[in-house]
Amino acid sequence: MGELFSLQQLVNGLQLGSIYALIALGYTMVYGIVRLINFAHGDFYMLGAYAAYAAFFLFNAYIMPGNVFVFIVLIVAMIGGAAVAMLANRFAYKPLRYKPKLSSLVTAIGVSMFLEYFCSALPVIGPSPRGFPEILPKVMWKIGSAQVSNYVVIDLVVAAALMAGLTLLVQKSPLGRAMRAVSEDKDAAKLMGINVEGIISFTFLVGGAFAGAAGLLAGLTYPRITPYMGILPGLKAFISAVLGGIGNIPGAMLGAYIMGIAETTANAYNSLLGEGIAFVILIIVLLVRPTGLLGEKTADKI
């Protein structure tokens, strides 16, 4: 049992929170635009980790390990996550867009199961856990009372850069304006000449890419990847999104960091509590403030 509140715990919490934030953003963006809990999102994260793993062994012989190498692997992981997310959207979610919502949810579960079982059945991936390679030599620094490795810096910097990029994209670019319009009112957006399906597909692309990046970061930080690794982080990231206010992008980031810090703190106290803290948070949020920290109350239209 470590110390409950220390700089080290804060650093670990921020590191975990960065990974959750990247996953939670995808959940919240997809939910904001198509009102669908995309259960397969955790599996995009898993596929991102495997894409990074594959990229490492493909390029290992040609490129010297180092920061550039991490960057290339990151790009591959993001492309992997984005490609699968777009395929899932095109073949599983798009045909059901105007059917009852329950059928999309069931399909999302189906896609999630398919990705997990398919990966564990494929001989090249297989059900047994794999050790993630050490892409960068690990360097430790001592800052105050905390041990900080260069992996922590990578996690925080990559997450911060991607989130800053996303905020710029959503708030400043015409594409972002279109995304916000579609999430506000799909039909009105269509009448304004926005290609709604294109925007939805782009949202899945961004969400999948972020999940893929999170997969690489998780592989670096907790070097053990399995086909089922996406279930729990996906769940916790979703809870972070609910905590911050589902559909709200800054809320997802805030919720994820709170979740990460809460989880590492609880874990230091008791590992069982660490596993369950996300669930406790979810129940409390639903009881006390169902709209989340930054969410707004919406009324039903009759």
Partner: protein, 342 residues
């Protein structure tokens, strides 16, 4: 009482009972022990699927942790019976009826505990509109597994061992029949109609004066109760309760049964539970018989892990091309209560 008719459901159930019992007699022995285990599993899955159907199909909510409630039922009832077995044996002559009584009570206590847990997690999430139940139940399914893995008293990751084998064909049959009758009566009562109206349009049914939260919680708690019963039966059949039996993916299997059978059709759930349980066994045998492929130096063997790949594709295809499932909303005649003529 001159024109009293036996309900058709009871007739069919009794015929099924007699046929299976006769076929499994030692003298006939068409159904061996292996088949009997599958048939017992089928009936347990009938309970699981039709109770999940009440939540997901009739009330239109989305529960993903049905096996979590089964786990509660399994562990509670299994602990009760194993504890009671350790007591000094009852006087002779009392033993048989006594153990049967203990079994039924343990199963019911298991069901009630599952219902209580269902209330605890259902109430906060069902007050709200939207898909919160899905995520809460998904979380619950994972949490219950973690908790069970960490409680050493019930075996932790080894599972709860040494549960007495109280479940047999007769008791499982009786519980299954009881479940079907009770759920059928509930669904076709005014409460059931209130639940159906929530599925069709929550806002409209609220405007009609239906207390939607109450009915959603009611459907969820009843469903959890029967899941607990099924879990207890399964534990006393297999004589072990193991955390991995009750994870997220077994819950998905029950979910597939409900949606393959038809959202809201009990007939569909029952049929799908039987078909998919047999299909799982059939595929397992069939895949084992497949040859080993060889590409150069690497051999490639199709293993039983592909069964679940097939099922997940099946689920997506059903949703894409026949959203209403095999039976749609239809019910077999024997599951419909005939209205009395006035």
């Amino acid at each position: 009482m001159g024109n009293f008719k036996l309900p058709r459901l009871l007739i069919v159930a009794v015929i099924f009972f007699i046929v299976v019992t006769v076929l499994s007699l030692d003298q006939v022995y068409i159904l061996n022990g292996y088949f009997m285990v599958i048939i017992n599993r089928c009936m347990i899955f009938v309970i699981l699927a039709s109770s999940l159907n009440l939540i997901n199909g009739i009330t239109g909510q989305f529960s993903l942790g049905h096996m979590g409630f089964a786990a509660v039922g399994a562990y509670v009832s299994g602990t009760i019976t194993t504890l009671l077995l350790k007591l000094p044996p009852p006087p002779p002559g009392f033993a048989i009826s006594g153990s049967m009584f203990i079994f039924v009570v343990a199963i019911l206590v298991g069901g009630i505990s599952a219902a209580f847990v269902g209330f605890l997690i259902g109430f906060p999430s069902l007050r709200l509109k939207g898909d919160y139940l899905a995520i809460v139940t998904l979380g619950f399914g994972e949490i219950i597994r973690t908790i069970l893995n960490n409680i050493d008293y019930v075996g932790g990751p080894r599972g709860l061992l040494g549960i007495p084998k109280f479940s047999n064909f007769t008791s499982i049959w009786a519980f299954t029949l009881l479940t079907i009758v009770l759920l059928r009566n509930l669904v076709q009562s005014s409460h059931g109609r209130a639940m159906l109206s929530i599925r069709e349009n929550e806002l409209a049914s609220e405007l009609c004066g239906i207390d939607t939260t109450r009915y959603k919680v009611m459907g969820f708690v009843v469903g959890a109760f029967f899941a607990g019963v099924a879990g207890g039966l399964l534990a006393h059949l297999l004589q072990i309760a193991h955390p991995t039996q009750y994870g997220f993916l077994p819950s998905c299997l029950v979910l597939i049964m409900v949606y393959a059978g038809g959202m809201g059709s009990m007939t569909g759930s029952i049929l799908a539970a039987f078909c998919l349980t047999f299909l799982t066994e059939g595929l397992r045998v069939g895949i084992d018989a497949l040859p080993v492929f060889t590409f150069g130096a690497t051999t490639f063997r199709i293993g039983t892990e592909w069964v679940m790949v097939i099922y997940s594709v099946l689920l997506v295809l059903i949703m894409l091309f026949r959203t209403e499932g095999i039976m749609g909303m239809r019910e077999a005649k024997l599951l419909i209560i005939e209205e009395k003529k006035k």
